[in-house]
Amino acid sequence: MNMLQVSVWRGGASGGYRIYEVPRQESQSVLDVVTYIQRHIDPTLSYRFACRVGMCGACAMTVNGVARWTCRTHVSKVVKGNAIQIAPLANLPVIKDLVTDMRGFFDKWARARGQFVSGSGTTRKDDFARVASDSPERVAANAGIECIGCGVCYASCDVVSWNPDYLGPAALNRAWTLVNDVRDGARRERLAAVAGDAGCHACHTHLACSERCPKDIEPTASIAGLKRAVARAALKGEL
């Protein structure tokens, strides 16, 4: 039988790679490979997954050096010869094996004011807000709204590596969708929250996030929108 040589990160931050032999199958995802190791070779292997169909964003790992959603990544797409290297996501603390602590990642969504705040004066008795589907704001929000929070962009971003406080592509993309939500009432606070050394202007347009996003979102475009919006606010003295 054709065997894959899979080297998998084991342990915490100071762990190392261990090699496992996994039978190669015709239609096989990287997540299938990890699951095989845990079920048939070493049940102590820790990893995260839930939906297995690219919806939940739980199974992102570093495959041959590149962050990917493993459930929707075919082995044939990434295998080098018959070898694959699987590591936890970069830019996040490793808990054990392939599991990272994603608290910092999600805390930054909150810090970037990623929550919808209803506009002042609106109550639950008001009629639905009507947002034209072809309005520029709705189109801009649509472009970023499908994020599943997998952390691939965050793990791929060098600015996060170089400035650990940097809010990162996902949180800023989320903020941009809300800046374009005409019902939202916290625009000014949100623009202030995404400004500064750890905010949108730290982005260097490496485009790594846009390159790697499994949902084909372009956070770089969202961040560029925030850069312009924050700069305009500063010029008007509203920052």
Partner: protein, 114 residues
């Protein structure tokens, strides 16, 4: 764990590295440039001596490199301004090719004019 070097192997990352290193090199060159031009205060003879000194092959090569870096920083910078200020979707990769091509053309024009 920090970012893996394999994750960086895509065109826009190389464009960033080029932009940063060319910017650094040009910043380091500026003091020499200003100092050399300031020598004109001491007359033509002093300037001629300096220009003669730059005739060495190694310095000629460095000159071509500096012009190339300046052109690359210009075109790379125009690309960044376009990405940050213009609405865009998907055409950034062809922009990159234009930037590289234009920078190379300027370098070639300078090398041939020498």
């Amino acid at each position: 764990m920090n970012n893996d070097y394999r994750a960086r192997n895509h065109p826009a990352w190389w464009a960033f590295l080029m932009h940063r290193l060319s910017g650094l090199a040009l910043s380091l060159f500026l003091p020499f440039h200003f100092w050399a031009l300031g020598n004109a205060l001491q007359g033509e003879a002093r300037m001629d001596a300096l220009l003669k000194w730059t005739e060495q092959p190694l310095l000629k090569f460095a000159e071509i490199m500096l012009v190339l870096l300046l052109a690359a920083h210009l075109t790379g910078g125009l690309r960044l301004l376009a990405l940050e200020f213009l609405p865009w979707r998907g055409w950034q990769k062809s922009l990159l090719a234009w930037a590289a091509g234009a920078a190379f053309a300027v370098g070639l024009a300078f090398a041939l004019a020498l």
